[in-house]
């Protein structure tokens, strides 16, 4: 009953607060994370085992739907290679800042690596509204941001795959160990590739003729769970497999019928992912932030400036002007997705401390709030020749 009460209350709070934050112009995930945070303060739950499991399923569904609904292989092929340099730069600089911060604070190699990976992703959806409102979506830096976001997701998951594989060694892996990791990843990719190419089309051709209720929907969910399970058995994390499974189904017409997509979307966004974001909020230890004030501030500043500086340099290198490069850099600052999965996994594996976890969540909140504001200011600066405030250039 305790678990039932937790899930019911948190889902209710998540929906109410998500609506409230949407009304104030912030993405719904801020409300969902706040729901978990407030629930923890109000009820101080002891046994959250069931809820934790639901949160983990939430992470699996978050990445499965990202692959299933959002990634299209053709878009990846069409994405201009021009975007690759700015993307690699902004990821690299943010990654380097994260690793450097971990090293300065004396973290272990693997904890520094998790911090670095958590610094790397970008969630472009946070600033799309600003780009629309300023008529900048179709501008050169606007479309570069969109293309970059496609590579960014893939790069973020690739880094997560590597870091989880390396985590099993807890030190810089030797040459043979690295080969073993590469071999496992390659074997997983080949098996999934063959399944997606040869097995899934035949399977779904049969499934669509089945008479059992909602067979098609069930099998889409089964592929998500199977891919997640398979990747775990290869030493990768379940979320990687779920994303991969989603990408493979994204080009399969029978699995992408509108009616099935709506059901998958309903169970993912209506139930599981709010529980995941609430789980993140519930896991935040506010008292840790008091003791780790300087560290938390450094996480926020370095994670945001890493993206800004990396994005700025990368864009300049491919021939954009300073103002456009600044706009691009700021556009790469928001986080609202993969990094939360990274820290949830880091905490689950006992690799990252409560300090790191809570600081990253704070960074996500700050990035969601300030990125659209800074982006609008930089666009206005470009258009009206207004001077950029000091803090935006640091």
């Amino acid at each position: 009953m305790e678990a039932l009460f937790q899930i019911m209350s948190i889902l209710f709070l998540a929906r109410i607060l998500s609506e409230a934050t949407e009304k104030t112009g912030l993405p719904g995930i801020t409300g969902e994370m706040t729901a978990g945070f407030l629930f923890a303060i109000a009820f101080k739950p002891d046994d959250i085992e069931t809820f934790t499991f639901m949160g983990e399923l939430g992470a699996i569904f978050l990445l499965f739907t990202a692959g299933y609904r959002e990634v299209h292989v053709k878009d990846l092929k069409a994405a201009s290679l021009n975007a690759l340099i700015p993307t690699l730069f902004q990821i690299f600089v943010a990654f380097a800042f994260g690793f450097m911060l971990g090293s300065i604070y004396g973290f272990s190699f693997i904890e520094s690596l998790f911090l670095a990976v958590a610094f790397s992703p970008t969630s472009i959806s946070v600033v799309v509204k600003t780009l629309i409102d300023t008529d900048y979506l179709s501008s050169k830096p606007g479309s570069l941001m969109l293309t970059s976001a496609i590579f960014d997701d893939i790069a973020g998951l690739f880094l997560l795959t590597i870091v989880i594989s390396v985590a099993t060694y807890n030190h810089l892996p030797s040459g043979i160990e690295l080969l073993l990791i590469a071999g496992k990843i390659l074997a997983f990719v080949i098996i999934m590739g063959v399944l997606g190419w040869k097995v899934f089309p035949v399977l779904f051709n049969y499934v669509q003729k089945m008479h059992a209720k909602e067979s098609l929907f069930s099998f889409v969910i089964l592929i998500a769970l199977f891919s997640a399970y398979l990747s775990e058995s290869f030493g990768l994390h379940a979320v990687i497999g779920a994303f991969f499974g989603g990408v493979l189904l994204s080009d399969l017409p029978i699995a992408k019928i509108e009616a099935v997509q709506k059901k998958v979307s309903g169970i993912a966004y209506g139930f599981f992912t709010p529980l995941f974001f609430a789980f993140i909020g519930l896991s935040v230890e506010i008292e840790v932030l008091y003791t780790a004030g300087t560290f938390a501030i450094l996480v926020i500043v370095l994670a945001l400036t890493g993206k800004l500086i990396g994005g700025f340099i990368g864009t300049k290198l491919v021939g954009y002007g300073s103002k456009d490069s600044l706009i691009f850099g700021i556009g790469m600052m928001p986080r609202a997705g993969v990094e939360l999965v990274v820290i949830a996994i880091g905490k689950e594996l006992g690799i990252i401390s409560g300090e790191v976890f809570s600081s990253i969540v704070m960074m996500v909140f700050v990035s969601i709030i300030i990125s659209p504001i800074l982006l609008e200011m930089s666009i206005r600066y470009k258009e009206k020749g207004m001077k950029v405030p000091e803090q935006m250039t640091t």
């Binding site: 949407e22 993405p27 719904g28 609904r69 959002e70 990634v71 299209h72 292989v73 053709k74 878009d75 092929k77 069409a78 472009i124 959806s125 799309v128 509204k129 780009l131 629309i132 979506l137 179709s138 479309s143 969109l146 976001a149 496609i150 590739g193 997606g196 190419w197 089309p201 779904f204 051709n205 669509q208 003729k209 098609l216 990408v247 493979l248 994204s250 080009d251 399969l252 017409p253 029978i254 992408k256 019928i257 509108e258 009616a259 099935v260 966004y269």
Partner: protein
């Protein structure tokens, strides 16, 4: 992971069921013997992959269809554009924030059919029976199915084509 257009027919072709003795007077058995190729519309309004969005909107105002097959230069079916895609594009700025994903944003910038279309249309082979086509439409709420052979579009069959045929059969 396949490239758009490639392999679509193989993925969605409906295989022939085993032959069983049929009652030639029962409607469902009669339908099982009729293939969609005999009732599909062969005169179709199609859209080229390079067609501009403005032209497609204009086309929608002049024709009664809800969706349009998209063909490449080799006459292969590579996608479908429907009214929902156009409406989402036209009202993207007003849409809720959770629609503002990067994929939707890319689609919102579309200037031609190939970037806006749905890349994974449901297709059937010309030999598919009326019963199988009806099963697909009813089970999965599909309005129109593209009939494809060797990736080439041969026709389109809609719910109203099926109803019209059943009506004719009942009156015979």
């Amino acid at each position: 992971m396949t490239e758009t257009g490639k392999g679509i027919p193989e993925k969605t072709e409906i295989q022939e069921e085993e032959e069983v003795p049929r009652n030639r007077t029962r409607l469902s058995d009669i339908c099982a013997d009729i293939s969609v190729s005999s009732i599909m519309s062969k005169e179709m309004t199609v859209v080229r992959e390079t067609e501009s969005i403005e032209n497609i909107i204009e086309l929608m105002t002049k024709t009664p269809y809800h969706s349009y097959p998209v063909l490449n230069s080799d006459e292969e079916l590579i996608g479908v554009i429907d009214e929902d895609n156009i409406l989402e594009l036209l009202f993207f700025k007003r849409s809720n924030r959770h629609h503002h994903t990067h994929l939707m944003a890319i689609k919102a910038l579309s200037e031609e059919a190939s970037t806006l279309m749905v890349h994974h249309p449901m297709t059937i082979s010309p030999e598919t029976s009326l019963c199988e086509a009806a099963d697909l439409m009813i089970k999965h709420h599909i309005e129109r199915l593209c009939v494809v052979r060797d990736k080439k579009l041969e026709g389109v069959v809609s719910k109203s084509d099926l109803i019209r045929k059943i009506y004719e059969l009942r009156r015979q």
